[in-house]
Symmetry: C2
Subunit: 221 residues, 2 copies
DNA sequence: GCAGAACTTGCGGTTTTCCGCAACATTGGC
DNA sequence: GCCAATGTTGCGGAAAACCGCAAGTTCTGC
């Protein structure tokens, strides 16, 4: 899991909670910044010292109660941070819910995740961190429609057959018969297992239960 | 499973398919009627002979290409059949998609199931038969909103915690820790297993995957 | 047609889940 | 309090799912 994480967020309460979440996930070095400028400075210092941050979690809007700031907000911070350290993973954690904003962040600035400060953030944030760690992009469910997810698995006919059988209650070990009946090529039990494993992996899941929930959420089945 | 089943349905193709489905499920005596009057007659005869039908599967609308029919349609048939044999299980299989029609059938005539002749009927019909056999009421997902399901399991806080953990990807064997943390009484692994088993059973499922799909469909999680 | 890549399959061992059983704990009348 | 009913827990064995590996097959590009 991520070792060195920087949080840029000016609400103390949110800050504390994000911190706890990160600690639970095993981050060993966590720093917080209440202003964008401070955050950038911390990134610079860490870079110079040869121990750069692995992940930046940032809000989009900050109070501007300190004059003379260079960076106007989270977007500026992201741009500056990426210039400084292109491989840095960036997770935006914000209440902004304009889908266009989100998709622009993903497409233009290549952020790795966007968690909406909404009713599900408590689940989403840890999930997002995990996804990003696995090299995926995570966007809160509510805003996903806006972003043609780059790592969304393309569900083939074959995949859907398998998943539908699971939902019908068919035991995995019996799915090969169904597959064979329908004339699919890869109809062995091992293939079913492998395929399910691949799909789960592609989406950053470990259990079929997650996969089913995902498919339902996305109207795949 | 049901032994003696009567199908009232005037479309030959549908008829055949329903028949096959029933055979797959192990029904030993299946009769078909193309008119409501015929269906009722068959019910009467079977009753007099002391070997009544267990299940009636009927459409709602029939072609009226035979004059002098007593029964005008599926609804009449249901009423007459129930008068004759109150404990008879009735499954309506129809293209009618007015939610009010469905809920009235369930509430006023006490039908045991309604499968909509729609894109999912191939899955729904077998499921409906199983549910009904287990004493449940089954209504196709598309029309469920109309009917306050009478056998829906009441999901407690405890249940939802368990299921949510599954959806998060928590291994079943690790759920006890979560439960304990939240101060639930039954926090042993065996309790989790047992509870999941009970819920699955109450809903006529055998696998967690089905349960997750159900919960998503019903907005339980 | 051939070599290499990609895919498919069976095998075997591990992990996880499932489920009956019996011991123990808790609850609710009386 | 006491008994019965109900709920909870641990145990142990069976079933199912998981996953690496290696052998076999099919697909490509040249």
């Amino acid at each position: 899991m991520f070792e060195r994480v920087l949080i840029a967020e000016d609400h103390q309460s949110v800050n504390r909670w994000v911190l706890q979440t990160l600690e639970k996930q095993g981050a060993s070095y966590i720093r917080q910044a209440h202003y964008c400028d401070d955050a950038l400075k911390l990134l610079e210092i860490a870079g110079k010292e040869g121990s750069p941050f692995d992940l930046l979690i940032t809000d989009l809007s900050f109070r501007e109660d300190r004059p003379g700031q260079k960076l106007a907000g989270g977007t500026d911070l992201i741009v500056a941070a990426r210039k400084l350290q292109p491989e840095l993973k960036v997770l935006v954690f914000s209440a902004e819910e304009q889908p266009t904003v989100v998709s622009s962040l993903v497409e233009r600035f290549g952020i790795n995740g966007y968690v909406w400060k909404g009713p599900r953030d408590e689940e989403d944030l840890p999930a997002a961190i995990q996804h990003i760690f696995r090299g995926k992009i995570f966007v809160s469910r509510e805003l996903q429609q806006a972003v043609r997810s780059k790592n969304a698995h393309d569900f083939s006919d074959y995949d859907i057959t398998i998943i539908s059988e699971l939902v019908k209650g068919t035991l995995q070990k019996n799915i090969p018969y169904v597959l064979a009946e329908q004339g699919h090529k890869a109809a062995s039990l091992r293939s079913v297992e492998k395929r399910l494993g691949e799909i789960r992996d592609a989406l950053g899941f470990t259990k079929n239960e997650q996969l089913i929930a995902y498919c339902k959420d996305h109207w795949i089945i």
